[in-house]
């Protein structure tokens, strides 16, 4: 019987904890998205991260969200999800 997993019948108002996605063994050959949250100086930080990533064999795509104050627009998130295998978001202070 496959009755060992059941579906939650509630409105799921209480938040369930989830685990991290599985990670790749290395970044070599992968496309890494760098998402700039649009705070001053973050670009300098990300420029350096980009150099270092390229140095270990990753290719990098840069993205910038319109404002750090809100989540990135859904189109941008969709774009990153379709173009990248890994994402790094920076730099909040």
């Amino acid at each position: 019987m496959s009755t060992r997993t059941i579906l939650d019948p509630t409105g799921e108002q209480s938040v369930a904890e989830r685990a991290r996605l599985a990670r790749p063994a290395s970044l070599e050959g992968l496309t890494v998205g760098l998402l700039d949250i649009s705070k001053p100086r973050g670009n300098v930080f990300l420029d350096r991260i980009e150099e270092r990533l390229v140095g270990i064999g990753a290719s990098v795509k840069r993205y910038k969200k319109p404002t750090f104050a809100k989540p990135a627009p859904v189109d941008l998130r969709h774009e990153i999800a379709t173009e990248c295998q890994v994402v790094i978001e920076a730099l909040a202070d």
Partner: protein, 489 residues
Amino acid sequence: MSKPVLPDGFVAVVKRDCETCQTVVPVLQQLAAATDLTVYTQDDPDFPGDPEAIHDADLAVSWHHDIETVPTLIRVVDGQETERTFGWLQSEWRTFTGIDDLGEGLPPMRPGCGSKSVDPDLVDELAVRHGGSILRSRRIEVAEAEDEIEMMFTRGWSDGLPVVPPTEQRVLKMLSGTTRAPDEVVATVPPDLVDASVEKVAIAAVMAGCLPEYLPWVLTAVEAACNDEFNMHGLLATTMPVGPVLVCSGPGTRKIGMNSGINALGQGNRANSTIGRALQLVVRNIGGGRPGEVDRAAHGNPGKVGFCFAEADHESPYGTLAGQRGLDDDVDAVTVFAGEGPRGVVDQLSRTPESLANTLAHQLQAMHHHKLVMAFDAILVMGPEHARVFADAGWDRDRIIFELHMRLTTPFDELVRGAGDIDEGIPAQAASGFLAPDTSDGPTSLPKFRSDGLMLAYAGGGAGLFSSIIPGWVNGETGSKPVTRAVQY
């Protein structure tokens, strides 16, 4: 799991346990030599051997690509299927592949066999394995040693009776009862005002014990109950013993086997018992409406587990309740009414409509309190024996209701607080008109019901000179208005 992409060229799906597949092995060899051919085998990984096949062990390729018959031959261009043929028809395979001598020497035609992916023993399991991803609800693992029914009690998801564990398999099957998308929002459910999707309602329907064909009725009931007009929130919060009562009518009630006859308001019929229960499980688990919390009922009533019955509309001398409320009598419809448990009316001697109307009026007047008027609606459920007395006399629905209203008008001085040595009653200032009596007797008397507050339904066994009254909760703006909806399939 997402749909596997097929390799370009020709794709053949076969299984050893199919004579036609065995027959076409030389054809596959010929195709492999002349074209890009990929063979998937559903059973034996070593079949056909030459050419070598990929084992579709979990049947993902077959299921996602809707293989119903083996052999199936598919042409794939740029990862997309452009055409397919199945079974063995020499002429068609030759046209399909452009190979003129394909299968020379083989019989011209052999029908295919059923694909393993549509095997009735496997099909539900495959739907879960490959189609379960359409379900968005949180998955909850039941630990090895745990009994899932006990676990559902422990988590507080039961109305006090065992519920059927909502497995992916059962919920997917339930969803086959409607054409509506699982993620469609059905209603916002009080008291927590949580959006209930078709999927969540289907989960409640599984738990209640519904069959898939009941689901459209459950969905309609949820829509009818969860809105400002019906005021499910108020119904929960009240201390009165009321809950949602579902009155179903239309030919669809017979298709799903609802009971409108003997013991219609009682136990023993799966559809009657589970549709109303599913609505209450939606309110409990999705809306968060639980007794002792938002549900403040002093006594409650056993109908709050679920109270649902069908009208015998095909035999009714006065149409349906849904008809009284403005729908066509032959439409599949659900009326939700804020009601108590039913109480019987016995009159085994009245042979005239006047006499029977007098009896019914006395019992209706007594509902809640004989001195409290215009605050509560009611449904009067008549069965064949009482209804016949009126039908034989030529009284239709309007006449019955009119005659009852006439008999349910009481002089004000009998209703006022203190009258009859009973403190309960109508406040004295009501005589000056705030109840706005709409009877010809003027402000010196008051009707028991507001003008549309008395409703008739028709159900019950053929023998028994009885009726049943379902008294309501507070009506109007501060309380609940009955809501009637056509069933959406």
